[in-house]
């Protein structure tokens, strides 16, 4: 079936096209021109975040399925070939890992196809699926193919209203909030972009945005990064500008942008603390799982001068926690149903536009 002859680390060789056809290409490779891959570099120590990796599944662990470039999950089998991307991951509920490959085997850090070295694992997680890297895909010039080569062009930040979504933690309800607000805005007749600006490459959020009816969906992978963990803040910032410019060029009149993980996560914290970065946001939704997180989240944002447009998230599943949070923070808590309501979504849009217009006026 997969007639691939393993190479030694000293070899750089041409790649049998059949190998690429047989292999499963992960979701994070979706922008790659497959016919550009014509060789293999087996110097795995040289791997950088974003490099494409041909690997063989050794042992099925936590991730039993690979998210394919076509947008569907695929059951993984020991021994099969996969094309994944070398990258890091920060996910307190799952794994933390670095963009490092090892000949003896590496860790599938995310189902979207992120391969690296696991450094920390949440106690509820099984060991990661192990993939033995065979080599880095190389192009005609012999250098490894990297997602950065397939990034959308860098463009200056456009002047469209942007609503951000931040959370107290991973799995606090940000994506549901973004999808719900997108749906409400679409129902109201807006042309909406949904963008994930930070995180690790996977199709869950991407597909959730599409399902909500967003006219334009993009994430940091489209900007050339498999993960934003440990990436320089200026690079992430420019990537957000480019993603928003893509949305504006696609005719969107508003963008909803999700920042992954919690407010205390390193890159998220640095980005929203950067006045130039947060200036593009007319306002933020804050997703929280409980009342104490609501209090802490509001206080954390207040330190950098942000008053969220609304609080939302998992907390809305608990009427009692919602009442507690409303009493302490003074905010109304917006359930997913409320965010999906075109009347409420339009209020948020209008407020965002007012703020965006006044910010643009100050710049001019």
């Amino acid at each position: 079936m997969n007639a691939f002859v393993p190479l030694t680390a000293s070899h750089e060789t041409a790649l049998n096209p059949t190998t690429l056809t047989c292999a499963k290409w992960a979701f994070t490779t979706r922008r790659v021109a497959r016919d550009a891959a014509i060789g293999l570099c087996c110097d795995l120590k040289a791997a950088r975040a974003g490099d494409l990796v041909l690997g063989r599944v050794e042992r099925i662990g936590s991730h039993k399925r690979l998210q394919l470039a076509s947008g569907r999950p695929s059951q993984l089998y020991s021994g099969e070939l996969v094309i994944v991307v070398c990258g890091a991951r920060y996910a307190p509920d799952q794994f933390e890992g670095l963009a490092e490959l090892t000949v003896s085997g590496s860790d599938l850090l995310a189902g979207g196809g992120v391969l690296g070295r696991m450094r920390n694992r949440n106690g509820k997680m099984a060991a990661p699926t192990r993939i033995r890297p065979i080599g880095l895909l190389t192009g005609a010039d012999g250098t490894p193919l990297n997602l950065a080569q397939y990034a959308i062009p860098a463009r200056p930040r456009p002047a469209i209203p942007v609503i951000g979504a931040v959370g107290a933690s991973m799995n606090s309800g940000k994506t549901t909030a973004v999808a719900s607000l997108v749906h409400g805005l679409v129902r109201a007749g807006h042309r909406v972009a949904a963008i994930k600006a930070t995180g690790t490459g996977a199709f869950g959020d991407y597909n959730a945005y599409l399902d909500a009816g967003a006219h334009h969906v993009a994430d940091f992978v489209d900007a050339g990064m498999v993960s934003t963990y440990l990436e320089p803040i200026p690079r992430i910032s420019k990537a957000t500008d480019a993603l928003l410019a893509g949305a504006a060029a696609d005719g969107c009149d508003i963008a909803v942008v999700e920042l992954a993980d919690g407010l205390l996560q390193k890159e998220t914290a640095a980005l929203i603390a950067d006045p130039a970065y947060r200036a593009q946001f007319a306002g933020f939704l804050l997703a929280v799982p409980d009342a104490l997180a609501a209090t802490g989240g509001v206080a954390t944002l207040a330190k950098i001068g942000i008053r969220p447009l609304a609080l939302t998230g998992l907390i809305t599943q608990s009427p009692m926690a919602t009442t507690e949070a409303e009493a302490v923070t003074g905010y109304d808590i917006a359930s997913r149903e409320k965010l999906r309501d075109p009347a409420f979504a339009t209020v948020l849009f209008s407020r965002a536009r007012v703020i965006a217009n006044s910010a643009n006026a100050r710049v001019m």
Partner: protein, 282 residues
């Protein structure tokens, strides 16, 4: 459906004397809204359709039939939704009970899919209770409205801090989905071309006029007084927001509370049925 005269015509179609075909389309959108529509022969899908909202006595078909001949020459489609009494008893308050706003949005999406229009915006016109609906809908979704024409509304939502539906503040009751709004985010609404038409004889307080010390103090006693006060309030709010107001009060000499009579008035025709080539006068 008692009293919903629109529903008594089971033929599905109706051709008024003008020759403009008026058709009934049932079960539009997620809320199964019925609409009477007239699509003229040389149809201009780029022109925002005229969406006519009936009063408390309903009569969507009558509105479509009367309006269609007036706008057919410009290729404009007429859409007259029927918010029947059983399903939308309080449609004029837009967000109550079955959410008339959601029903209309969804029906418009269906009609757009059917090729009736290619624009996201509509020219919204309401009579009496329909004018109540129209201005509240436009406050919620000003980006969906190209022009707003209000004929003989009984009362209005003012841009003040009184609870909805009298003002902009959210009511204490959680049974309504009206969202708290500020003047600032009403900029698009305040920029709309708005025409408020009222008969000079429409100054009788009848059983359909919402009355009481509070509303009378806020809005005036009669429809005529209330129209004048609301227009003035919108002008003030626009100026306060740095927006040049585009709202005008048109008094229809000799008209009472009668849709047909209002429509026949030359001033009403002049302001309601614009040649699309002629910009609105300010």
């Amino acid at each position: 459906m008692k009293g919903d005269d629109d529903m008594l015509d089971h033929s599905g179609n109706h051709a008024p004397a003008s020759g403009c075909q008026v058709s009934r389309i049932a079960r539009l959108g997620t809320e199964n809204l019925c609409c009477w529509t007239s699509v003229p022969g040389p149809h201009n899908p780029e022109r925002p359709p005229l969406v006519a909202i009936h009063g408390l006595h309903r009569g969507a078909k009558q509105q479509a039939s009367l309006l269609a001949p007036q706008v057919a020459a410009s290729g404009q489609t007429v859409i007259a939704p029927l918010f029947d009494r059983d399903n939308w008893p309080d449609y004029q308050q837009v967000v109550r009970k079955r959410r008339a706003d959601l029903a209309l949005l969804s029906a418009l999406d269906d009609l757009a899919m059917a090729g009736v229009s290619r624009t996201d915006r509509v020219e919204l016109c309401g009579y009496s209770g329909g004018a109540q609906f129209a201005h509240r809908f436009a406050m919620l979704y000003p980006h969906r409205v190209a022009r707003l024409s209000l004929i003989a509304a009984g009362w209005y939502t003012f841009l003040d801090s009184k609870p909805f539906p009298y003002g902009l503040r959210a009511p204490k009751s959680r049974h309504t989905s009206w969202q708290p709004r500020s003047l600032g985010d009403l900029a698009t609404f305040l920029s709309l071309p708005i025409r408020v038409l009222i008969g000079t004889e429409d100054d009788v307080v009848d059983e359909n006029t919402r009355s009481g010390p509070e509303i009378d103090a806020q809005q005036g006693r009669t429809r005529r007084e209330r129209a004048a006060r609301w227009v003035s309030a919108i002008e003030d709010a626009a100026r306060l927001s740095g927006i040049r107001p585009n709202i005008k009060l048109i008094e229809l000499d000799g008209c009472g509370h009668d849709f047909r009579a209002c429509l026949a008035h030359p001033e009403a025709r002049r302001h309601l049925f614009l040649n699309p080539q002629i910009p609105l006068t300010r």
